[in-house]
């Protein structure tokens, strides 16, 4: 009897081992960490979302944040250059608004640190939205519907600060967890295929993770474009050209051609690439990065595998957008 009981308890012990969760990969040694789910206040998100789609934020009520950042597809537009109120093309490619809260800096040249500060950029720039805060606050104050929503969420009247807060907090809800790769990082080895895992290994061994790391797979510091082999001819660029990058802000020689390292989350959905949107395919941009940033020629096979890996960073569009959509359809 006793031995039988011992054997039973041993079997139960073995069975219980199968319930121990698989060891998480994000133990600090992986250069990329998964995105965690965000919690948010639904009322504030709806208000922020409505402001995000409100064309009154622009000078002639023709453009909203949403015009260039389509939050129901990829958080950007698929054009090389977006068009603002002046009907002229903007000089830089529009980055996605998804996961922008995970970036340590905003804009290609990183001139804003917080999302709140970032809003000033497009809102005031002449050929983007070309407006100013005084007008925007006044226009919104005249709409009792918006005013009552502000009252409901913040219990305070409309102000520049609160508009920024609402939009920024909406943007903070636009994170995309649950990508296949995040599942893989959390220990589900079957979440990505063998060749995708191989792509990830190559991504690390080629040195891509030197810059594209962290939760956002980039976005947390600056790097020179053309680090190993220069991309632009130093003398051919005019003063103040957008290709000078951060140099235009700091005027430091070391910041010439330096840009914010872009996030690679959802990268397969956000063509075209580079700050000027000049490259249209992922394959091309992988090889270009290898050549100019790492000094290696990435073979066709490896580029394909890396591209397959990058596809695992795609995630479903943020939950909060469906909340907003439901509200809008009401």
């Amino acid at each position: 009897m006793k031995t039988a009981r011992l054997i039973y308890s041993f079997i139960i012990f073995l069975g219980s081992l199968t319930f121990i969760p698989p060891k998480s990969r994000s133990n600090g040694l992986e250069p990329i960490s998964p995105i965690e789910k965000q919690t948010y206040d639904p009322d504030e998100i709806v208000l922020g979302g409505i402001l995000f789609m409100d064309k009154r934020l622009s000078k002639d009520n023709s453009v909203s944040c949403f015009s260039c950042h389509n939050i129901f597809s990829n958080g950007a537009d698929n054009k090389r250059f977006s068009v603002g109120v002046q009907k002229t093309e903007l000089p830089l490619n529009t980055p996605t608004v998804f996961n922008s809260s995970l970036n340590s800096f905003q804009f290609w040249n990183g001139r804003a640190k917080s999302l709140e500060d970032q809003i000033d950029g497009p809102l005031i720039t002449k050929n983007e939205m070309g407006s100013n805060w005084k007008d925007v606050v006044e226009k919104l104050q005249n709409d009792p519907k918006i005013a009552s929503q502000f009252k409901k969420v913040y219990n305070r009247p409309i102000s520049e600060k609160l508009i920024k807060k609402a939009i920024s907090n909406f943007e903070r809800s636009l994170v995309t967890p649950d990508s296949q790769f995040d599942k893989y990082l959390k220990g589900d080895t079957s979440a990505i295929s063998k060749s995708q895992a191989d792509g990830y290994r190559l991504f690390k061994t080629y040195g891509c993770t030197s810059c594209h790391q962290g939760r956002s797979v980039g976005g947390n510091f600056f790097q020179k474009f053309g680090l190993i082999i220069p991309y632009y001819d130093k003398d051919s660029l005019a003063e103040g050209s957008v290709h000078l990058g951060r140099f235009n802000i700091t005027k430091l020689e070391s910041d010439r051609f330096v840009f914010k390292v872009p996030s690679l989350r959802n990268v397969a959905n956000t063509a075209p690439y580079l700050h000027d949107g000049s490259i249209d395919s992922l394959n091309k941009v992988i090889k270009l990065m290898g050549r100019h940033q790492l000094g290696v020629d990435i073979s066709e096979d490896d580029a394909l595998k890396i591209e397959m890996f990058l596809n695992t960073l795609n995630a479903p569009i943020p939950e909060s957008t469906s909340l907003l959509r439901r509200h809008l359809e009401k």
């Binding site: 040694l29 250069p31 510091f221 000094g295």
Partner: protein, 548 residues
């Protein structure tokens, strides 16, 4: 007059006390919150400084290559600094201290920025070398002979690795020689070689620079200032607590004064107030007494109600008593009659009556049989079935038990009893209770239609899904609207005094509630119809319950 003055003083001192208390608490919370907030901020800065150093060390060791932590710590430190600068407790001399901390941290975050770029490019170069060495080793493994340039490259790579890992000085010399030498014949260089050179140069340069940066960042840790500030906050807190002590004494003094004057004023207060207090107390007592009384009578009423419901069973039978007597009386009469005939035959022994006498004797037998059926039904139904287990019975059994008791009475009033039920419907019910419901309903119908011509009562069943609907319909023309609202209330009856108790329907309803159903009323083809639904029994369930 004197009393009034005292009262004024008492009121004034109480008001003073309240105001003082409010002020005391508001300042206390505000100040202590401020101090603990500043303390927290300083502690946070201290903690995040440690984190910055730790993550820089980790990055230096190439343990991981994730800047998130570093970024996060740097951001938190500068945010804490900004809040600290806004803090209220700052005076001129603490302000300079805080400012120097913030300046250092500002510079630190700038350095952290360059550290990140540099370490990433350092990492890229190391990766490049690794890549290169892998490629050469792979070729070697595949059997290709190494060219002299490959051998040279391999040698350089190995030196570079030993330099980055062990900081080998000889390796450093070899590498710097390589970087310098190739500078001379720059033009002839292949792209490969120039890349290798630039990467090695990058490693040499970055390694030194990174260590410099690391040292600088570490030296910028404002630990002295933080300690000073912590001390200052501590002193301030102590000062504040000291201050609180004297405040407390003043607080107690005022409290004492107000207490004494209040007591004095109360003592000297007029007799009227005293009377008023007594009157109030008396009133309070009365209210309490009345409440208790009310509670008790409520309990009594509830108890009585229970008792009434219990006795209703008996009442219902009392109501039926006449009917039951009749029920048994009629067959007894016929026995009597038959018996007298048999007696007559026995005394005369006339053979022409013989056949008839046998027939009569048979009739006595069958009548006795009938009486025993009635009595057994009565016994079944009269039993109090409140706590009965539910049992499985056919609908026919239940209906038969009920109508056995009233059949004769209905016949007597020449009421036609029509039965149209699904004989085989299986029910899991407290059969005695359901019989009582049926009897109640039949009784009601009987009372309603006995005066009418061509009267009839019909018991009908109808299958509705997995339920069966049992309907008791009579030839009456329905219940008036005003009565309809009241029929289910206990003690409501339209019957003559002494005929009904007015509890039948409410009790029936209660029984049906126990079977998760309800008694309903509707008009059915213009006639009065009471109906209720019962769950049909699942055959499978029965088979499971029956012992094999």
């Amino acid at each position: 007059m004197k009393n009034r003055k005292l009262i004024y003083i008492a009121i004034a001192s109480i008001v003073l006390l309240v105001l003082f208390t409010l002020y005391f608490h508001s300042t206390k919370d505000f100040k202590s919150n401020q101090l603990s907030h500043s303390k927290e901020l300083v502690q946070n800065i201290h903690l995040n400084q440690k984190k910055i150093i730790k993550s820089i060390l980790e990055l230096m060791a190439n343990k991981n290559n994730n800047f998130d932590e570093l970024n996060h710590s740097v951001e938190l430190t500068s945010n804490n600094c900004i809040s600290l600068q806004k803090d209220q407790f700052l005076t001129a001399n603490t302000k300079s201290q805080v400012d120097s901390i913030c300046n250092k941290i500002d510079r630190q975050s700038q350095l952290a920025e360059s550290f990140k770029s540099l370490s990433s490019s350092y990492f890229i170069s190391i990766r490049y070398l690794q890549h290169k060495s892998e490629l050469i080793n792979y070729n070697n493994l595949m059997g290709a002979t190494l060219s002299s340039s490959d051998k040279n490259t391999n040698f350089l790579l190995n030196s570079a690795f030993s330099y980055t890992i062990f900081l080998d000085e000889v390796a450093f010399l070899i590498l710097s020689d390589f970087v310098k030498s190739s500078n001379i014949d720059n033009k002839k260089e292949s792209l490969e070689n120039s890349l290798l050179k630039s990467h090695i140069r990058n490693i040499l340069h970055s390694r030194v620079k990174l260590i410099e940066l690391q040292n600088e960042i570490e030296s910028l840790t404002p630990s002295l200032e933080i300690k000073g500030l912590e001390k200052l906050i501590k002193v301030k807190t102590e000062e504040y607590l000291e201050n609180q002590k004297s405040m407390k004494i003043a607080f107690m003094l005022i409290g004492l004064i107000s207490l004494i004057t209040t007591v004095f004023a109360t003592l000297k207060a007029s007799r009227l107030a005293e009377l008023l207090i007594f009157a109030n107390a008396d009133l309070d007592q009365k209210v309490v007494d009345r409440t208790i009384e009310l509670e008790e009578s409520k309990k009594l009423i509830l108890k009585q109600q229970e008792e009434i419901f219990a006795s209703e069973r008996l009442n219902a039978f009392g109501e039926m008593a006449a009917g039951i007597a009749h029920e048994i009386n009629t067959p007894l009469c016929s026995i009597n009659l038959a018996n007298s005939f048999v007696k007559k035959f026995l005394s005369t022994q006339d053979s022409k009556y013989k056949d008839r006498a046998v027939k009569m004797s048979d009739q006595i037998d069958s009548t006795v049989e009938r009486i025993s059926v009635i009595i057994s039904s009565l016994r079944k139904v009269a039993r109090n079935g409140v706590g009965d287990e539910k049992e499985i019975v056919t609908l026919k059994e239940v209906v038969d038990d009920s109508i056995n008791i009233c059949r004769e009475r209905l016949k007597n009033s020449s009421i036609d009893l029509r039965i149209d039920i699904d004989d085989n419907a299986l029910l899991k019910i407290q059969s005695v209770n359901i019989s009582q419901v049926l009897i109640n309903l039949i009784n009601n119908s009987y009372h309603a239609v006995q005066e009418l011509d061509d009267s009839w009562i019909k018991i009908q069943s109808e299958n509705i899904g997995n339920k069966i609907r049992i309907m008791i319909i009579d030839c009456g023309t329905g219940i008036s609207k005003e009565n309809l609202e009241k029929i289910f209330t206990p003690f409501f009856t339209t019957k003559a005094v002494g005929v009904g108790t007015g509890l039948g329907l409410s009790i029936s309803r209660r029984i049906l509630k126990d079977h998760n159903t309800d008694l309903n009323y509707q008009t059915y083809n213009g006639n009065t119809c009471f109906y209720f639904d019962l769950d049909l029994c699942d055959l499978l369930e029965i088979q499971l319950e029956k012992p094999a």
